[in-house]
Symmetry: C2
Subunit: 388 residues, 2 copies
């Protein structure tokens, strides 16, 4: 096991109906909040109205800031920072999925910073202070509700970059599975894929092969997520399966799966960010394309782990290590297909001729994340595994 | 899955050699600290000297308060509170295992309280404020380094009771596996048993049978702990196995294993507390006696979980559910014996005639913890399973 620091001060309040607590949980952090939400679902389902009622009942005044899109953009963040400052607000309540939570965190970081908020994403400034963020989650996917990172797209530069810092851990995240009952099938599955790929990044890219607990933890999260998805495939409003998926997705990127595995580079996410930055496809769909391709490209290097993954998750126990490794990738890809998640570039309407552009874009992030082995040539080779 | 709140703000700094960071990590919390430690090992191994050197180098002055015994006592806590107040100190650095950390927490709670610190343990006062506690851990066992509880014995009343409160989470815990290399075999094994039984309390006593992730998490912790112990049985100073044991023990009682299982009553610990309160035996030894006895008494009620435990942990896949359940208990007991951990009352020099006294003592805690089904008669029946 490698050395690590584990620190995660987010208070998770989990359970059906817990949404109504948002008012009293927010009050210690401020009486005037920015209420950040998305484009449509929180209004349609009545979630937004419930949150507003709870805030009002607790004497918390809210300034609305709706319209966050998936693959959220920095222009929105800048506008929200101005609104926050102008209204002299005290805290942010994010109601939605990862895009909304990430937007809230970027705003929280930007409010006290004199320069442009994108400086944080470029690595030209560090987040030292942030206003408090509270979350009412409505999509199981990114784990942004229990970590200190956020990913935002700069539309002008076509960069999908991240920022982070301990000040950005949400103070409170309400995980109420009832708020996810109406998520449509596609986005439910994309969320599950995002969660599983989060867990697998450290599993396959960790630097220490001797991490038996962490390996088991990841396999536990993957297996439980897959079971939940199987139930949800038949019944999208199964509350128990929604609850399982929600907690597993949160735990898949809260720092625990990677604690002790050494620096984990997130190469699958690195490449996917370029797909969604350039083509605005859903992140989970992009991961469905990138993950099996990345596994195939890396198969020789991560063979023992792939074989173990095949055995523990898909019960592929036959054949040589190499055969099991490949059987594991095929099984994983077959599982993605069974969910109707894209697994090829053409499934997301990207053609072979787009590969150089994607590789060029991904290279920016590879350099930023210090993934030096990922040249444009390597990234192109990986993407070519997603052709045919 | 049941509703839950998960909150754990302790910063864990894990890795070989991290002990030298204690000075700089302490400084933000105070320049004058109470240095709490045990009776012998921290001095003998040089750990105490290393901690003192690090504190001094960071400009932190320390007032020594050594001599904590295992099954730590409230008289020591009271004296330490007086010392802390008299010296006008600002924080506590605990160097040792669970007894030392628990003592530090009780002191931290008592400093700002006008009444007697035992009031917290009796439930007559709530911990609202506490001075900061930092930990340099030297024994993998209790997880006190990453939770907000503490267990202390009142010598006068023979009560081994606990206190808790969010203010008591250690601010920082340094988990340096090198500090555990010299722990003798007996205490290494007792620590492992404590960790495993912590994990199993929620596994067997949780109120919701549908907790697939939590079940897998517990099995992962138990399996990894058992593997580490197997290596340590041959080589006590194996750094990798020490690291695995240390992290698993911490995770076994940091709130994660029980999040979602419903109120978990800790009945095995409840009964063991009376053994160590009355006979001053090591907690891990007492658990070796109580745990299999409790499983046998509860076997009908928890049969499916026992059978699963047998299958997943000990690979007992043969026979009916009932047969597998009993095979699991036998296998667990056999594993304890293989570590030379006591499994019968006579192994810890307690006789059948002592049972009424133990049951009477345990009843106090059963009432405090609201484990209403545990009458003196039931507790006696459980203990009789540890005879023969």
């Amino acid at each position: 096991m490698k050395e690590f620091v584990f620190f995660n001060p987010t208070r998770v309040v989990f359970g059906e109906g817990k949404t109504t607590l948002i008012g009293e949980l927010t009050r210690p952090y401020g009486r005037r909040v920015l209420l950040v939400y998305g484009r449509e679902s929180a209004q349609r389902t009545g979630l937004l109205a419930r949150v507003k009622a709870s805030l009002a009942a607790a004497g918390v005044e809210s300034t609305e800031c709706g319209g966050v899109k998936s693959n959220p953009v920095v222009s929105f963040v800048r506008a929200a920072i101005n609104l926050f400052r102008h209204q002299r607000l005290e805290a942010i309540v994010a109601v939605g999925g990862g895009s909304v939570v990430d937007t809230a965190k970027a705003v929280a970081a930007g409010v006290h910073y004199e320069g442009d908020v994108w400086d944080f994403f470029k690595g030209q400034a560090k987040v030292e202070r942030a206003v408090p963020v509270l979350v009412v989650l409505s999509l199981a996917a990114t784990a942004s509700e229990m970590n200190d990172g956020a990913v935002i797209t700069n539309e002008a530069t076509r960069q999908k970059f991240g920022l982070g810092g301990e000040a950005l851990f949400p103070k409170v995240s309400i995980l109420d599975p009832l708020n996810t009952l109406s998520v449509p099938k596609t986005y439910t599955m994309y969320g599950a894929v995002d969660a599983i790929v989060h867990a697998l990044e450290g599993y396959f890219s960790g630097q220490d092969p001797r991490t038996p607990f962490q390996d088991r933890l990841v396999e536990s999260l993957v297996l439980t997520t897959m079971e939940a998805v199987k139930v949800l495939g038949r019944d999208l409003s199964h509350p128990e399966a929604r609850a399982e998926l929600m907690w597993c997705a949160t735990l898949a990127l809260n720092g625990l799966t990677t604690a002790g595995v050494g620096p984990a580079g997130y190469p699958m996410h690195m490449i996917e960010h370029s797909l969604s930055a350039l083509y605005d496809i859903p992140h989970g769909a992009g991961l469905g394309v990138v993950a099996p391709a990345w596994m195939r490209y890396q198969s020789a290097r991560i063979r023992p782990k792939l074989a173990r993954f095949a055995e523990r998750v898909f019960r592929c126990a036959e054949g040589t290590e190499d055969e099991r490794a490949w059987a594991g990738i095929d099984a994983f890809e077959g599982w993605l297909r069974s969910l109707e998640v894209p697994t090829r570039l053409r499934d997301v309407r990207i053609s072979e001729s787009d590969i150089p552009r994607i590789a060029g874009n991904a290279l920016m992030l590879a350099r930023k994340w210090d993934l030096t082995e990922y040249s444009a040539g390597v990234i192109s080779k990986i993407l070519r595994f997603a052709l045919d």
